[in-house]
């Protein structure tokens, strides 16, 4: 036993985030911490690592009681952590982020930069990540930042490694690398605590599972004694039917009106000229690897970047969006990929965050009456199951998954004609994910066009009427609804023939 926590309790105002929770980590195990959004996973981790102070409870390492008051204290005790939101410094280089706080020094007492670079490259290579270690961290997409955060935690020779939703932004390849490294570390006797909302990942890598529900510990299990459905029941507290992949038909979309059409839309260095047609009532999936250009396409459609070439036609007419407000006025909505920087406004309440885009579309003068705002907010809080003390709670106080739901709610509330979702289910628990999918489908059935970007192939094949695949910043091809995951994967990997053949 390396780490043993007992009776951990933490209250935030009226929310009892953790209530008398115990956790045991043994040497050489991967321990999954499971629970719904807002169950208290991140809070537990913060207490263990000194990022928050516990109201009650004790933590022992090797039987010795510790009381970390800052993350630095926890690091000194051999606990290395990756927090849920990427918590690195965007303005520093990748190498610096990897070594900040433990820079090797040369004989003049100055930072030994060559050694830092060398070490950084090695760490990156360990994760099979091809990144220029001198580049600024902030210039990379979240996925890469997440990998860097993981690499930083790995670089510390710690006894306990804690990973809070490390895989939320990663695609399959990266996840595989991460798991490989985690297994290696386990062999070396490290204890790893790991949070995820992907059930298959839990079963792929973990030795033991602790389940939290509403801030309380439900129990500790081994994967073999707890099949998926039982795990879900433990987390949710009631039986939930996991939807099977019922693919949408895609038939009705053929003659539906075209909501938006991109013709050779592109931007030098970011996206090759791309054609895309979005129809009312159709869910168009967009697949591809990290950095394949999906986000860039979405940004160009939404006026967040100005296209260098090509044009965009909205309802048959040429449109040139100068900023998102124009796109919103044309009935577009974009739920962005980067939740922390482009999504939530942490200081505003849940209500204000939800109505923000709608209000922006209505303009300054037509101010939504307070009653209407509250009604909207309540509706979406119920619809998406946002766990929040009240609709007046600042969004910064919500758990990560619930923040994501708020951003989603903001865009659903605008009732757009075209909804672009860039990795909308990141960090959302399985039960909520189903709700989100169902809502998107419902909207599509009512005639909304949807562009759905996701790293999860399964999600794509289940939800979409049509799937476009991006590769190396260009559109590689399109697949009709009902295509299987293998076809999508083949197209992503660049085997057009296989993809077509299978269809």
């Amino acid at each position: 036993m390396v780490l043993q926590a007992e009776g951990l309790t933490r209250r935030f105002g009226e929310t009892l985030a953790l209530d008398d929770v115990a956790l045991t980590l043994r040497t050489g195990e991967v321990h999954a911490l499971m629970g719904q959004n807002g169950a208290g996973k991140s809070t537990l981790i913060k207490l263990l690592t000194g990022a928050e102070r516990a109201d009650a409870g004790s933590i022992r390492i090797d039987g010795r009681a510790i009381a970390p008051a800052t993350p630095l204290d926890a690091q000194r005790e051999g606990i290395s952590t990756v927090y849920q939101e990427v918590n690195l410094c965007p303005n520093l280089s990748v190498a610096e982020n990897l070594y900040a706080g433990r820079f090797p020094r040369n004989r003049f007492g100055l930072i030994d930069w060559p050694r830092v670079r060398r070490g950084a490259r090695e760490l990156m290579a360990q994760l099979h990540l091809d990144v220029d270690v001198d580049s600024l961290l902030g210039s990379h997409p979240v996925a890469v930042q997440q990998m860097v955060a993981i690499a930083r935690a790995l670089g510390v020779s710690a006894r306990v490694l804690i990973l809070d939703e490390p895989t939320s932004s990663l695609d399959e390849g990266e996840v595989r690398e991460l798991f490989r490294v985690m297994r290696q570390l386990r062999e070396r006797g490290m204890a790893i605590l790991f949070v995820t909302h992907f059930l298959d990942q839990v079963y792929a890598v973990s030795d033991r599972i602790t389940v939290l529900r509403n801030g309380r510990r439900v129990g500790e299990y081994t994967p073999s004694e707890l099949p998926q459905s039982a795990l879900v029941t433990a987390m949710v507290g009631r039986e939930v039917v996991l939807a099977k992949g019922h693919a949408r038909s895609g038939a009705m979309a053929e003659d539906a009106p075209v909501v938006a059409e991109a013709e050779g839309l592109g931007l030098r260095g970011r996206l090759q000229p791309t054609d895309l047609r979005l129809r009312a009532g159709e869910v168009l999936g967009l697949g591809g690897l990290l950095g394949s250009g999906r986000t860039e396409l979405a940004r160009l459609l939404f006026g967040l970047d100005r296209p260098g070439q090509g044009r965009l036609r909205v309802a048959g007419r040429d449109a040139a969006f100068r900023d998102p407000a124009d796109a919103i006025a044309a009935g577009f909505a974009l739920c962005p990929e980067e939740r922390k920087t482009e999504g939530i406004v942490a200081g505003l309440s849940v209500r204000e965050n939800i109505i923000l885009a709608l209000q922006a579309r209505m303009g300054l003068r037509r101010f939504l009456p307070r009653a209407r705002q509250e009604e909207l907010a309540r509706r979406f809080v119920d619809l998406l199951g946002i766990a929040s003390a009240s609709i007046e709670t600042p969004v910064g106080a919500l758990s990560g998954g619930n923040q994501q739901k708020v951003v989603l709610a903001r865009w659903l509330a605008t009732e757009p004609t075209l909804l672009i979702l860039d990795e909308p289910t990141r960090g959302i628990d399985i039960a909520a994910k189903q709700e989100v999918m169902a809502e998107v489908e419902r909207r599509a059935d009512e005639g909304m066009a949807v562009l759905f970007i996701s790293a999860e192939i399964e999600e794509l094949t289940r939800l979409c009427d049509r799937i476009a695949v991006m590769r190396e910043r260009a559109k590689a091809g399109e697949l009709p609804g009902g295509s299987g995951a293998e076809q999508v994967l083949a197209l992503i990997a660049g085997h057009e023939a296989e993809a077509a053949g299978a269809a």
């Binding site: 990022a51 900023d323 407000a325 406004v345 200081g347 579309r361 939504l368 106080a397």
Partner: protein, 355 residues
């Protein structure tokens, strides 16, 4: 200028929402009470020549220009901006008004007509607003950092004002003009009505339109607000323009009060005082969180401080030290962390406190 919000985010936000103005109010009350103790006359109000007369009236009247500027500044700061040119803009507005009045020979007339006055006010305020717009353009369109963008006008503005006045103090004896800063309406200084009107205008704007929401969204996370479709650039431009307008109004009040426009002294160091007022009122310089009433209180606190120093008769060498100590005291009083540690010390010192 960042605070690590790690502990009890919700708790703090709620506590703040419950009584955000408690500490500034307490500070002001303490200051006034302290003055009253030292000099009972201080709090007394008399009815003299058809208007209220007393130190409190003076403080309110003297604070008026600062309040105006602080109001404009609050919104600019709330959107992560800054305007250090307010003093210079006040000087420009003052000289333009005086210059126009002198041009229209409105100074000597026995039966002053109001036309020249309106022309002068319109010219001055238009130019002041244009100055604000200029600042806004530099920040929003040219992408310069606010402090540098407005530093340019801060440096050049006084030069422009002096150029207009040819380096002279422009003296205007125009009765309607001096009414602005000296007159009384319903027994109260007219300047207070100017402030009240501005405040009411802003209040209505913030309550009845989405401006408040947008401003806070922009302040907390400009990029997210932009993505959400808030027209951040337009709003920033408008806020800088309004800040310039407020500075202009302040300049008019100051110059009308002494019936002259001194390009050198109007609004001297006003930028620092205004930012200080905004801070004292609980508005975060990092943007997002703001309070108009807070800024109003902040400005009143600063003016009360100044008046206190004059009233208790300390030698002028001590002015700055006194001001510094009072500002420290005020800020510490408002710091929850400091109150926490004071409680800690008390417990240790007072026997039987905790144990």
């Amino acid at each position: 200028m960042k605070t690590a919000v790690t502990i009890g985010f919700a708790q703090r936000m709620r506590a703040f929402a419950l009584r955000p103005l408690f500490w500034p109010l307490l500070t002001l009350a303490l200051l006034l009470a302290g003055n009253g103790l030292v000099n009972p006359e201080f709090l007394s109000l008399q009815w003299r020549d058809g208007h209220l007369y007393g130190s409190l009236v003076d403080i309110a009247n003297r604070a008026a220009p600062l309040v105006l500027v602080s109001l404009g500044m609050t919104l600019v700061i709330a959107t992560r901006g800054l305007d250090i040119s307010v003093g210079a803009v006040a000087a420009i507005a003052a000289t333009i008004a005086a210059w126009t009045l002198l041009r229209l020979h409105a100074g000597d007339g026995d039966a002053p007509s109001l036309q020249p006055l309106f022309a002068a006010l319109a010219a001055a305020l238009a130019v002041a607003a244009a100055c604000g717009l200029w600042n806004g353009l530099l920040v929003v369109k040219a992408g310069m950092q606010p402090i540098i963008a407005t530093l340019i006008l801060m440096v050049a503005g006084r030069g422009i004002a002096q150029l207009i006045g040819n380096g002279q103090i422009l003296t205007v004896y125009n009765a309607p003009y001096s009414y602005l800063g000296n007159g009384f309406l319903l027994g109260l200084p007219f300047a207070l009505f100017v402030v009240a009107a501005t405040f009411a205008l802003l209040h209505v704007l913030l309550q009845r339109t989405a401006l408040g929401l947008f401003v806070r969204a922009m302040g907390h996370n400009p990029l997210a607000a932009h993505v959400a479709g808030v027209r951040t650039k337009r709003i920033s431009l408008a806020l800088y323009t309004f800040c310039g307008f407020c500075a202009g109004l302040a300049g008019l009040l100051v110059s009308s009060n002494v019936s002259s426009a001194d390009a050198n002294s109007v609004g001297q160091l006003m930028e620092l005082d205004a930012i200080l007022a905004v801070c004292l009122g609980g508005t975060a310089l990092t943007g997002g969180r703001f309070s108009l009433v807070g800024s109003l209180l902040g400005a009143l606190i600063i003016q009360t401080l100044t008046s206190t120093i004059y009233a208790i008769g300390v030698p002028p060498q001590v002015n700055l030290v006194a001001k510094a100590l009072l500002v420290f005291a005020v800020m510490l009083l408002q710091s929850a962390e400091f109150r926490g540690s004071v409680r800690g010390w008390m417990r240790r010192v007072v026997p039987g406190g905790a144990r």
